[in-house]
Assembly symmetry: D2
Homo-oligomer: 340 residues x 4
């Protein structure tokens, strides 16, 4: 049994990590920490965990976590993770970081978009971007995983096969994405109160969302060429899930069925990616609570657009589930271990 | 045109007051104040008001409000209203207070349940409980109105005819009430974040909710006898509305139709109370955005229970709408002025 | 591996049965039937099943089901189950019926409330009411289980300990229950369209709901005395879950803590019942997707009322989950087999 | 007072028409018809109307409507309107048709996309497309108005200024639109049951939605050149509202502020179009229940995309409200008559 710590246990991602890890047969939850005023019982803070777990949650004490745990999930805000990751790595622990701190191997990109200096360039060099469908080989031997952002996961998986196969004739695409409210985090807030979000819908952070450079950077590194993205996020009145509608201009004569075949081939061996049959399109409910990414597509012969629709659960494949998938790969376990 | 101030303009009740007052033909909004860090435009803080109003909102300055306004709505938290009401009354302004501060003519009841000393016993004596259906006569000449709580409005209107007509054989009843989330106020909070409330439902404050003594006290004063209430509030995943299911034990031989007739007679002249026909029951959507209280009822001959179901919009008849209805009465205007 | 059939596979209960059975280690789904115009793929009808199952679903052919299956779940409408159950029993199959057809050992009660003659009095005699917490012993050797109604499950579990311990001084109680919309079934309908239910809330079937006699009958049989129930169901704008707020008049001097202890003792060995600690109250989200019933309680010393709040997932503990729990008991398996 | 008939009174659009017309000072509701089995009271069918109206609703009898009414709203399904419109026009009544039947002055376009022959080419010639912001002049003297589709209203208003000012460098654009569920109509259905839509989100009818040619045709006629549109509709779990996110490639050097100015100028005199200030973006709640269209925009200098976000209430500006706005124009009344 691997002793596993969740640092940042009281956020939506931390809670989801706990739920998945509790049913993981190879793992023992050895430590929960969070920014708390005093040590609490995690099940008192999170009623959904009552009856499933009886464990305390204290403020982060790196030495204590190192003493009890061999594997560490950092579910911390951006810029906080990079303060703690080096200590865990230095103590020989493997780390999956769910913040953005280690997602850009080029320090300057991070610093430009996140507006702070990166304090751990060494870690940045060592980190592997934890999208198994593209980087499984590197993940196997990594010590530090930069777990992908929720939006980039659904967007990259939706664009990658078309770009890799050179189907796209322009050097940019559009990602119109819609997320559930847990994506905004679990913290006191006026903007995400129920009456502000319910029966409502809005676009936000157009042009400027920090997940834009992540998509662009990772695709760029992988394809060896630049591909610009118009990323437009929207806030849905649902708890969970991201649906991304992706518009790519197709240059060649190629049929919708053929494109679907290429997508299917690209993800044939993937345990968590499914292509919707025929012209059918995936919906959020198909992936809620699962680690799946479902992909549907339509080709518009009038406009020349390929429209790719992808759905994921933002807390699972978009965060905690993918983090556990990475842990499974790093430990040589079945990739679907811990998932039903 | 009456110059009207809204003190506490950025809460849900304050916003609703603004919306109603903007379409009121006899009124001019003369002042908006709220606890703000700097003077803001109200429409920047509340996107729903953009295009309907262009007005600033500053911190409360009593003198300034007295200078510009003749009528004051206090949409302040409990215990804060009683600090400011005396100054407005002293300056000759009429006041409708939407907090609980002036709802109990007996100081001790307030102090027992709200846990603070009452600082304005003079105001308390003068104040009139602003439920028009029971106290219209006193409201006409009042200087200070204690606007009823949202739950008590629906509950008292549902119980009053049965109690007045001596249909109830026991000295207590049950009010199982369900409210929309705006009832919790518009302030940064973790408990009322969308994902904490959506797809969820819960009872809260059983036995101890502060609206219990308000129902008991007002009914007691009106009936001249004690009637105890088991009040059980619940939180609904909707923005607005309160549905109260009320259980009263009926002592006499009386038919459901006869009881319905008595209810209809009791509210015959009321512009904002409607009795549902036959055995049909009202639902929230019938009153959303309106100042109505709809009442349906069923008699169970097996159990001897009269079940009364009432619905109101918690922000309208349960707060801002009733406050405006009171203003209309105090000014001798048509009671439905300002409502469609 | 037990070969299991789901008859009525395309309703919400049938779909939930499929989901649970797919992860049950002792079971093989051998047959799916439903009222369909032509044989379909179940995953085409129910997108949530795509990628998890690849199986056809045809119209019911009793012989064919008997040929392929050893255990049959009937997820059929009331009055339809009793037409088919005898054939399966006659062929030596064990049956869990999720309709109301076999819930009343006294034929007359069924006929009075359901308004039809019961066509299988033999089955009625043999059937066992499948509430494991009360009837586990009989379930073990049963051939035919009448799976409890969703409302009665939460209501009976909430009242039983107080009644068994003679805490209740009156011969009746009140159950104010609120259900998610899946309780209304998966069939074309105007009343349950999204815009009719969303941002809405209503009571329905007061005095007359068919689950009333089920609660009364089962409690009466178990306690050996009559206990009348005022049952008031309401429709919540959520997908799943039932919260029941139960009001019982307490006769003796007994503390809230003592009552909580009695409840805890009553369900001590139950794998799927939990008592909320202290005065805390359970909420729907604690049981969504699980087979648990959570119970919280408060005693009001002013009114003498014991208020019991229970929550279940109407599709799991209230239907499909309890049905599988019964199957586990009938086969001598661990009762929580198939649940996480 | 103008005597006004609503044909198709029990759908969501018909109900909304009734609500608006009830508060319209120049109008008397003279006739309500719908496909009903027997004559009903409209308030029995639609609880939201109880207490506001007491009127019967029968099957359509053209002569009877002509006898009682001078102005007719046809809220009928596509292909049904064109069967009845000629009779009303022939009797000298003015007609606003809310179906698609008269939206295409070129018969072939309708027949290609709607798959039926058009039975009233005369009406088609006479009809005016009722988008006041583009065709007010023609609407004034029209006898038959083709009220625009809900999606085209928000999309055309969002694209028109940019296209008219020749800001767009490509001959096509993308409209990623999201609608509330009332857009699907009020009819018994499995796909739009609450549990099928709630906590869910999906794209539908990609490439093939019938509102595509409407946008393309109207813009083409107005601009005198072809502009192709990729229209991707999605279903939101809210009752009302459409948010359209529109992507247009900008060819010239022009600033975001300059574009905003052009939009503001284009709609300066419009009573129901507002441009969001600065880079702020409109949200659904700003227009719910109103006849407004709010428009916000951002220019991405990295990609060259202009992103326009428009919001309308699909039942008001997207249907019934715009229909009444057209009636106001046709009668020479203030355009905002009947709206708050």
């Amino acid at each position: 049994m691997l002793n596993v710590a969740v640092v940042g246990a009281t956020g939506y991602t931390g809670i989801e990590l706990i739920k998945i890890l509790l049913r993981h047969p190879e793992v023992r939850l050895s430590s929960l920490t969070a920014k708390v005023e005093e040590t609490i019982k995690i099940q008192d803070e999170v009623p959904e965990l009552f009856g499933r777990i009886d464990m305390t949650c204290s403020n982060l004490d790196v030495d204590e976590v190192c003493r009890t745990s061999d594997f560490v999930f950092l579910a911390l805000p951006h810029t906080v993770s990079m303060k703690f990751a080096p200590a865990f790595l230095g103590a020989g622990k493997k780390v999956v970081d769910l913040s953005a701190d280690y997602r850009f191997s080029r320090k300057e990109v991070y610093e430009e978009w996140y507006g702070v200096e990166h304090s751990d360039p060494t870690g940045l060099k060592a980190a592997v971007y934890g999208l198994p469908e593209l980087f499984r080989h590197k993940i196997k031997s990594a010590e530090l995983i930069a777990n992908p952002g929720c939006y980039p996961t659904g967007a990259i998986l939706g664009m990658y096969p078309a770009l890799k196969e050179n189907l796209v004739s322009e050097d940019q695409g559009i990602v119109d994405a819609k997320t559930g409210v847990t994506g905004a985090g679990r913290k006191a807030s006026l903007n995400f109160l129920f009456p502000e979000v319910n029966e409502n819908f809005m676009a936000y952070n157009l042009v400027a969302h920090k997940h834009t450079p992540e998509m662009v950077f990772i695709l760029g590194e992988t394809l060896g060429r630049e591909f610009e993205i118009e990323f437009a996020p929207h806030l849905l009145p649902v708890n969970r899930g991201i649906l991304s509608t992706i518009y790519l201009k197709v240059g060649k004569k190629v049929s919708e069925d053929k494109i679907r075949e290429l997508y299917r081939a690209a993800y044939e061996k993937e345990p968590f990616v499914e292509i919707s049959p025929g012209g059918s399109l995936p919906r959020l409910s198909q992936v809620t609570g699962t680690n799946y990414c479902f992909i549907g597509l339509r080709l518009n012969t009038r406009t020349g657009n390929l429209i790719v629709v992808t759905v994921i659960d933002n807390l699972v494949k978009g965060a905690a589930g993918q983090a556990v998938q990475n842990m499974n790969i790093m430990n040589g376990w079945r990739e679907s271990e811990g998932f039903e």
